[in-house]
Amino acid sequence: MAGRALKRLMTEYKQLTLNPPEGIIAGPTNEENFFEWEALIMGPEGTCFECGVFPAKLIFPPDYPLSPPKMQFTCEMFHPNIYSDGRVCISILHAPGDDPMGYESSAERWSPVQSVEKILLSVVSMLAEPNDESSANVDAAKMWRDDREQFNKIAERLVRNTLNIPYP
């Protein structure tokens, strides 16, 4: 079963290298362990996260793809759907059954049909359109709703952080 997990991860890695989606780079941290990946996500254009390059790590369970991987940004993030420690809270990363927010239908949960690419694309779209209904970071959600200007400022600072450009 887990040999299958390794095979599938290798297949996905190959596909991601051959046809990389725009704005996403991902691969195993080292070639000896395919169950820990690193990903770089470009902030989607036309949003407050534009131009940022956000590093994240993905930890795959031994029974992948039957269980979802965990994803965590390794840089500082301020976003309604990202916990303050960087963990990403999107429904396709939740296994059917456990429902941390109590509102997700099982139709939008993890299933083996999902893949690293789909996860990362979902994260990109999450960056573009935060879901402030179910906030992992309440402060960010509140600011996103009430004080968009302030939120954009923080986002710009984060973008500059990731690019090592000092904030003016």
């Binding site: 299958r4 362990n33 039957l66 099982s106 139709a107 299933s111 083996p112």
Partner: protein, 697 residues
């Protein structure tokens, strides 16, 4: 062992320096070897320094061994190790409290060794698990793991045997704890070994080894069981010898949980495999060609061993199996597989009951409603065991065809006479409703129960309640036009879906369960009707015995028709058995009711099964159906004791006729069996004997 390099280096330097200074000081003071040794061992502070040195040496040794067997530890391994070591140390400290009498440096040393061995077992476990994660497994890795496993199991064995012999020779001591700890470690080592072998085999072959997960699962189950047993024994021994072993509570709990999970996994996977094999067809080559033949679960091409789900999606059967262990949905469209495949098995049952029904009933009903057929199906499995005794086709599902009509007559008569209580009116309405064959999917239950209540009511206790032994609800007599449940053959009639339909807590599960209970209730009500039939026979037998009669005259029984019994004669046999005519979803009353008749049926069934006679099963039915007649004989014998012999003869005759008519009723549909009771039948003999007995008295 697992600590940052700097502290270890510092500690080593420090302890060596301290030891050197202590030894130098001793030698400086005593000038000779032996006096200095004596001096050091007598001074506590010097001994502390020596112990510190020993501790440092142990850590160094541990690091050295780790280097040999594992190379460098990965971050995750290190984290796990620290966490588990923390717990292990805590538990060791707890164990110290139990054995504080034995506390000595040797004791501490033994515990340290145990801790080290434990740590190496954990690390070996992580390493072997890592085999399935890494694409590169070097030869060095194999050599390391194999030698480590061999060494560990050897050490465990030696230490277990040492503990065993020391316990045998010197009685129970701390060695007991060590013995059990090492025995547990030995099972862990074995488990790791099996895992390693499985992974190695898997690595050797090109294709993934399908059954590996299964083997691993069973290994885990076995080892879990062994561990649970070991812990239980250890717990018992500890409680008897020392005190409650607080320090094994946590590992014991973890072991129990792991065992439970393994058991659950095994059950789930077995079920998944069974479903895979029975429910879903193999995908054909054309189907594979028609779609993109990549299995969405493993992202590899499907050549063979692909299964097609009802929704049309195709996957590797092995991938699907492991997914179904977690969830019963299609991975692609999330369709609930079980709910979808439900209608598939339904077409098969309707054929059986329908022809029999048509033959049995004077007014053949229109085809029974589809939902009803559906709901009756789960019921089939419940009554499987006793029904399984009868070969299919030998017995019709409707053993008392004329009864419903009679019942009907009786009801109308009853209605026309006097009693217009609420129950009788209820039964009237139901009878008319049944007459128009307006049986909805839910109506059978209230109908039947209303009928039962109506029947039970007018008896009014004129005849003492019939003993329950004479109630063999073997085959349901469903009054009127309610289609009877199909004759269940065995448990296999209850398909996996139906079972699953009744499992779970969701609405449809509860509904399915209630439906089954309703079916049971219908059966029970049918049994009540049958009971009343018997009662009417009994009443007709009791004509001549005035002690049981009150004021009504029952026409003598004829061969063809059982007389419509009047209300006074009908005993109230089942008033407590009959559930109130509830229509709502009250599960309690249907649940409580089936127990008695069902067990009764089972006991009678097993009785007839025990009979060695090779007679066909219908004869056994005969026996069962005859029993009320027997009962009437017994009753007659008791009631007619003071009466004349002429009456007795008459009674015997009437008993004969009644029983024969009864049995003719039973088999009027069944063409394969004789109508009259066989004179050599043991029951007949018994009955005659009873008659003779009543004569004598």
């Amino acid at each position: 062992m697992p600590a940052a390099p700097m502290p270890i280096g510092g500690l080593t330097m420090f302890s060596f320096a301290l030891t050197a200074s202590v030894i130098g000081n001793a030698y400086y003071q005593k000038k000779q070897f032996y006096p200095s040794v004596v001096y050091i061992t007598k001074t506590n502070s010097s001994m502390a320094v020596i112990y510190l040195l020993a501790f440092t040496l142990v850590i160094l040794l541990g690091k050295f061994l780790k280097k040999i067997f594992f190379g460098s530890l990965r971050a995750a391994e290190f984290e796990h190790l620290i966490e588990r070591s923390f717990y292990a140390v805590t538990e060791t400290c707890l164990a110290f409290t139990v054995f504080r009498d034995d506390f000595s440096p040797k004791f501490v040393a033994l515990f340290t060794v145990l801790l080290f061995l434990k740590a190496f077992h954990w690390l070996a476990d992580y390493r072997v698990d890592f085999m399935e994660r890494s694409p590169v497994i070097t030869l060095l890795f194999h050599i390391r793991v194999v030698s480590l496993l061999l060494l560990l199991s050897l050490l465990d064995l030696v230490l277990v045997s040492h503990a065993y012999y020391s316990t045998i020779t010197r009685g129970a001591s701390v060695q007991l704890v060590f013995g059990f700890e090492y025995a547990i470690l030995l099972t862990i080592a074995l488990n790791i070994g099996v895992k390693y072998i499985c992974h190695s085999v898997d690595l050797q072959s090109e294709n993934p080894w399908e059954n590996k997960a299964m083997y691993l699962l069973y290994t885990e189950l076995c080892m879990g069981f062994v561990k649970v047993v070991l812990y239980a024994i250890f717990m018992i021994i500890m409680i008897r010898i020392h005190t409650f072993p607080l320090f094994i509570i946590r590992p014991m709990y973890l072991t129990l949980r792991a065992f439970k999970r393994a058991l659950n996994d095994v059950i789930l996977s077995r079920r998944a495999i069974r479903n895979m094999n029975t429910l879903y067809p193999d995908a054909t080559a054309e189907e594979l060609r028609a779609v993109d033949n990549v299995c969405i679960i493993c992202r590899e091409e499907m050549v063979t061993g692909a299964k097609k789900l009802p929704c049309g999606h195709i996957f590797h059967s092995s991938c699907l199996r492991s997914w179904f262990q977690r969830q019963q949905t299609c991975p692609t469209c999330r369709m609930d597989i079980l709910r979808q495949s439900q209608p598939a098995p339904s077409p098969q049952p309707p054929q059986q009951p329908q022809p029999a029904q048509g033959a049995a009933q004077p007014h053949p009903t229109p085809a029974p409603q589809q939902p009803q057929q559906h709901q009756q199906n789960p019921f089939a499995g419940l009554f499987g065991p006793q029904m399984a005794l009868f070969p299919p086709g030998v017995l019709p599902p409707f053993p008392f065809p004329p009864v419903p009509m009679q019942q009907h007559d009786q009801q109308q008569q009853q209605q026309s006479t006097t009693n217009t209580t609420t129950t009788s009116s209820a039964s009237t309405t139901t009878s008319s409703a049944a007459g128009t064959t307006a049986a909805s999917s839910t109506s059978p239950v209230p109908q039947a129960s209303g009928l039962g209540g109506g029947m039970g009511q007018p008896g009014g206790g004129s005849i003492p309640a019939m003993p329950m032994n004479f109630m063999p609800p073997f085959f349901p007599v469903l009054p009127f036009n309610i289609p009877p449940p199909p004759p269940p053959l065995n448990f296999s009639a209850m398909t996996e879906d139906e079972v699953r339909q009744m499992e779970g807590n969701e609405r449809q599960h509860v509904e399915a369960r209630i439906q089954v209970l309703r079916n049971i209730q219908t059966l029970l009500d049918a049994a009540v009707v049958q009971m009343n039939q018997y009662a009417s026979v009994v009443a007709s037998l009791d004509i001549s015995s005035p002690s049981t009669m009150r004021n009504t005259v029952v026409p003598p029984p004829t061969q063809d028709v059982v007389p419509p019994p009047t209300q006074d004669v009908v005993p109230p046999p089942t008033q407590d058995v009959v559930p109130p005519p509830t229509q709502n979803i009250s599960t309690a009353s249907p649940v409580s009711t089936p127990t008695f008749p069902t067990t009764e049926a089972i006991s009678t069934a097993s009785q007839s099964q025990e009979e060695p006679s090779p007679a066909p099963t219908p004869v056994k039915i005969d026996e069962v159906q005859l029993s009320p007649a027997e009962a009437s004989d017994i009753r007659g014998a008791a009631a007619a004791a003071p009466s004349t012999s002429g009456v007795d003869t008459h009674e015997g005759e009437s008993g004969e006729t009644a029983s024969s008519s009864n049995s003719s009723l039973v088999f009027s549909v069944d063409t394969t069996t004789p109508d009259l009771p066989d004179p050599d039948d043991p029951n007949e003999i018994r009955r005659r004997r009873l008659e003779r007995f009543s004569h004598n008295s």
